[in-house]
């Protein structure tokens, strides 16, 4: 924890986005997490992503539950909306918010405890609804806030700081999301912002549920030898399978992508993401292939990263429900509440 605020002074040649803001304008308060926490790097990546996407702070909603990870929303875009909900209940609060106002950008930041233990039911149903949000899991394999017990994402054989290695099967959020039908699934590492920032940008712009599972080492309770979620272990075993470049609608797609390696995917809003496959044979639009890849590489001890699966065809929550384009929050009271006469008419149709 740091006692002084980050000085307001900034580098004079800091770039500005289309709103005339710099990354400094997208910051939050100084982190109270442990020094060296991976989550702080994820925060920095989030700041970079929303800055590059020219998101107006007041059109951003930062959602979270409980845990170290869930403190993250305090650390970026102070001027955005935020909701720190009950443990594991961030998806339903986000569902409510999104139901009321579909125009805003929803970024949920959760952890392996918040999403895979207490909140696993909520996580599952947010995917099923194809809730239009960027769902970010800061995954470190331990409950950091309660001093480092194994979480549901701990790998078999991973050693704790004290005590016996983990014996239980881990829940891999990416595989789980794939099985449940999530439409954008990515994995990255807090120490690799070059890969992480475009993945977050793609996740924010994707229409539907986007999962970004970020290996974010717990520097205090899970960064020792024998841990499978330490900085050293992650760096040694993580592999890029497919990176992406996010392309703003105003930019042209550069022709320099080699045929076969590059795969443009057009998003709903007019943006494009270009997949740069490290493994040529891999097709990230195939759910079966993604599943196969994840299992094979996991068994080989590798940590597969990049955009693992994407499907931009499926309707997201409001589309599924055939709701009007105008956010419900902007409708007049009469529009939302037709009155008891209308209700009686409706009921009579079922008599």
């Amino acid at each position: 924890m740091t006692y002084i605020a980050k000085p307001k002074i900034s580098h004079p040649s800091l770039p500005k986005n289309q709103l005339g803001l710099t990354t400094r304008d997208y910051e939050g308060v100084v982190s109270t997490l442990c020094a060296g926490c991976g989550h702080d790097s994820v925060t920095a990546a989030l700041i970079q992503a929303v800055f590059e996407l020219d998101i107006e702070p007041h059109m951003l909603a930062k959602m979270s539950g409980i845990g170290c990870s869930s403190k993250t929303p305090a650390y970026f875009v102070s001027q955005a909306h935020g909701f720190n909900s009950v443990h594991g209940r961030m998806p339903s609060v986000t569902t409510g918010a999104y139901a009321a106002n579909r125009d805003m950008t929803y970024v949920g930041v959760s952890g392996d405890g918040d999403s895979l233990s207490i909140g696993v039911g909520q996580f599952v149903h947010a995917i099923r609804r194809n809730l239009n949000m960027c769902y970010l899991i800061e995954n470190n394999g331990v409950y950091g806030l309660t001093k480092g017990q194994f979480s549901a994402s701990a790998d078999i054989g991973s050693k704790p700081k004290k005590g016996l290695p983990n014996q239980q099967e881990p829940i891999d959020p990416a595989s789980a999301a794939l099985a449940l039908g999530a439409t954008y699934i990515a994995r990255s590492f807090s120490g690799d912002k070059e890969q992480l920032v475009p993945l977050i940008k793609g996740a924010i712009m994707h229409s539907g549920f986007s999962l970004v599972d970020v290996i974010s080492p717990c520097v205090t309770f899970n960064d020792h030898e024998g841990s499978t979620k330490s900085y050293a272990h992650t760096r040694e075993f993580y592999k890029h399978v497919a990176n992406i470049d996010y392309i703003h609608p105003s930019e042209e797609i550069k022709a320099s992508y080699a045929e076969g390696d590059a795969m443009p995917i057009h998003l709903h809003g007019g943006d494009t993401i270009v997949l740069r496959k490290v493994d040529r044979a891999y097709d990230p639009t195939s759910r079966a292939e993604a599943f196969k890849l994840l299992r094979e590489r996991y068994n080989a001890g590798e940590i597969t990263t990049g955009l693992l699966y994407v499907n931009d065809e499926r309707a997201e929550m409001h589309e599924l429900m055939h709701n009007i384009d105008t956010p419900l929050a902007q409708l007049p009271y009469e529009g939302l509440h037709p009155g008891s006469d209308e209700l009686r008419k409706l009921q009579s149709r079922y008599r």
Binding site: T2, I4, P7, S10, L14, A35, S190
Partner: protein, 605 residues
């Protein structure tokens, strides 16, 4: 790039921009912290170690430290370093016990110092404590040289001069006032073991234009200022033209106003931006309603009925190229500006009519002595030069530094040691970590803007010639200004083997000066850092290959505000904030231990 060699004291010294920029390498951040703690006497002594005249320099230093100050790059204005120096001097207690003292027994060596200005006085300050018998010869009847004769008393009160010069003379220096040396040859026959020439650049430049010698109302700036200082001149005409726009010109115009002039114009040949005067001296003159006329090139003196009536100028037009260079200009017309007096302040020269040319002292084509820049010795062994007399007009702080270096050489010469075998600068580093997140210095960035020096009221200040215009900072101003110092001597020191590449330092740095990146060539690395490193004057601090990925940590020193957040957010202590102390050798350090002990006197060394 190769890993930065931080074992060379120069690297971290250069990070302390003010200290690096100061010819005498005064430890600015250290004394500013002492002021912040209310330790004014300690701050004064810290200053005195290197610059010898803190009270004088705190008023009239040329301040090469301020344009160098990092704060001036981070925001607009540098720390008011010079003003803070004066604070230390103004509020010090009696420090006489802490001054170096001459030993009871001399070492039997005699040295002669010519001129009682800042250069000679510094030599005396350094050599007297080592037991040398020091004699100062001064042509005038008073000490201080240019500091007293050319700097008006409304900027530098005589009391301040007397006090600080007194500290040196009280060590038992034999001062011979009114003793002009007319022949170097004769002096050398007096049997001194070493001679130091600190006679300044006493000859004001003349302007040979038609009518120059037809009036006694045309004055040479530095001579005129001297005559005012000695009260030989007590008045001047109502309308005065000052020719030239350097610092002497500023002193001349402001002095004129105090001697009865009502309409003072400073005539500049070139446009603004090409003036030689320091910005703050220009500001002070303009505050007193001095008018500065640009693009006027003097042509001739104009007379009416045999009396000086004005001066004719060419009106100039200049072209300035892309690199900011100015051409010689073309005349677009003429103008006559009426006046009663003209003061020529267009520069000054060395003059050595008293040095015989056949005694082994070599002179160059500008008639200046050939002097070694390290040893300050001329081509004849045992004769040393310093201050303006060595390399032409510079400033007080350079003269002081010349004095320190000459003193080392004179000591070595007298002890028959090799003049070039000098002690190197050294460096101490010590961690400033006090606790989990506590540093021994004020690391929080203070956004306060530079404080302005309060001045005596415009009407009041002209009542007498010697009313000091600058009042000195108030206590409130001091408290604000000290916090503006970025503590650049508290260095960010990196230990690569501890780094786990978690990016914490990079993410927290408020000025984006850190990057972890693959190694490469410097030019290319500069272009791909988190924020481009656009200032080639400022170094990149490059680590060795990092343990996990073999990339390197690169720090652009340019805009670092030394807030310590990188070290605070570092989980492994790979970054640490360490105070660098530059160890600067003086004559005492070159001396034998027993001499040194005597010289240290009561002062904390």
């Amino acid at each position: 790039m190769k890993p930065t060699d931080t074992s060379n004291p120069e690297y971290f010294h250069k990070v302390v921009d003010c200290q690096w920029g100061c010819p005498a390498h005064t430890d600015v951040p250290e004394y500013i912290r002492m002021i912040a703690q209310g330790r004014f006497s300690d701050a004064y002594m810290e200053n005195r170690k290197s610059n010898v005249f803190p009270g004088i320099l705190g008023r009239v230093c040329d301040r090469p430290c301020e344009p160098a100050c990092r704060r001036g790059r981070v925001e607009d204005k540098p720390v008011a370093i010079c003003r803070l120096k004066r604070v230390a001097a103004d509020h010090r207690d009696d420090i006489s016990e802490r001054l170096p003292k001459a030993p009871e027994q001399t070492n039997g060596k005699k040295v002669a110092l010519l001129g009682a200005g800042c250069a000679s006085l510094t030599v005396a300050n350094d050599l007297a404590p080592l037991g040398y018998e020091v004699t100062i010869f001064e042509a005038l009847d008073t000490t201080g040289g240019l500091m007293r004769t050319n700097i008006p008393s409304f900027r530098l009160p005589p009391k301040v001069l007397d006090e600080e010069i007194g500290y040196i003379l009280d060590m038992g220096v034999d001062l011979r006032l009114g003793h002009r040396i007319d022949s170097m040859k004769d002096l050398l026959e007096e049997g001194f073991d070493a001679v130091f020439v600190g006679t300044g650049a006493p000859k004001g430049k003349n302007l040979e234009l038609p009518g120059r010698y037809d009036s006694d109302r045309i004055h040479i700036g530095i001579d005129w200022l001297e005559s005012v200082a000695f009260e030989h001149t007590k008045e001047i005409g109502k309308r005065v033209l000052i020719i030239g726009v350097g610092n002497t010109a500023m002193d001349c115009c402001r002095t004129s106003l105090r001697l009865g002039a009502e309409d003072v114009k400073v005539m500049a040949r070139k446009p603004r931006g090409f003036f030689k005067a320091s910005d703050w001296e220009l500001e002070d003159a303009e505050e007193e309603n001095v008018e500065i006329l640009v693009n006027h090139s003097p042509k001739e003196f104009v007379y009416e009925d045999g009396k000086l009536a004005g001066m004719k100028f060419d009106l100039m037009d200049y072209k300035i190229d892309e690199d900011g260079r100015i051409d010689r200009g073309t005349s677009t017309g003429e103008v006559i500006i009426p006046c009663d007096d003209v003061v020529l302040a267009i520069g000054q020269d060395n003059a050595f009519p008293w040095v015989e040319r056949d005694i082994g002292i070599e002179f160059d084509k500008w008639d200046c002595p050939v002097v070694d820049e390290t040893t300050m010795m001329c081509s004849r062994e045992g004769i040393f030069f310093g201050g303006d007399s060595a390399f032409g007009p510079k400033n007080i702080i350079w003269a002081v530094e010349h004095g320190h270096q000459a003193a080392i050489s004179m000591h070595k010469y007298c002890q028959s040691e090799d003049l070039h075998d000098r002690l190197p600068m050294g460096l101490n580093l010590s961690s400033q970590k006090m606790g989990m997140h506590e540093w021994s210095y004020s690391n929080d960035y203070d956004g306060a803007v530079r404080r302005l020096m309060p001045h005596v009221d415009l009407k009041e200040r002209f009542n007498k010639l010697d009313i000091e215009v600058e009042l000195g900072f108030t206590a409130e101003q001091v408290v604000e200004e000290v916090e503006r110092c970025l503590n650049c001597d508290i260095q960010t020191v990196f230990t690569e083997k501890l780094c786990i590449e978690c990016d914490a330092c990079i993410d927290i740095c408020p000025v984006n000066c850190l990057t972890i990146t693959p190694n490469g060539e410097e030019d290319e690395i500069r272009s791909r850092l988190k924020a481009p490193a656009l200032n080639p004057e400022q170094a990149l601090y490059v680590s060795d290959a990092l343990p996990h990925t073999a990339r390197v940590m690169v720090k652009d020193e340019d805009l670092c505000v030394h807030c310590g957040l990188c070290a605070e957010r570092c989980p492994t202590g790979a970054w640490d904030m360490q105070k660098s102390t530059i160890l600067i050798p003086y004559a005492t350090d070159e001396a034998e231990p027993e001499q040194r002990q005597a010289a240290a006197g009561g002062s904390a060394k």
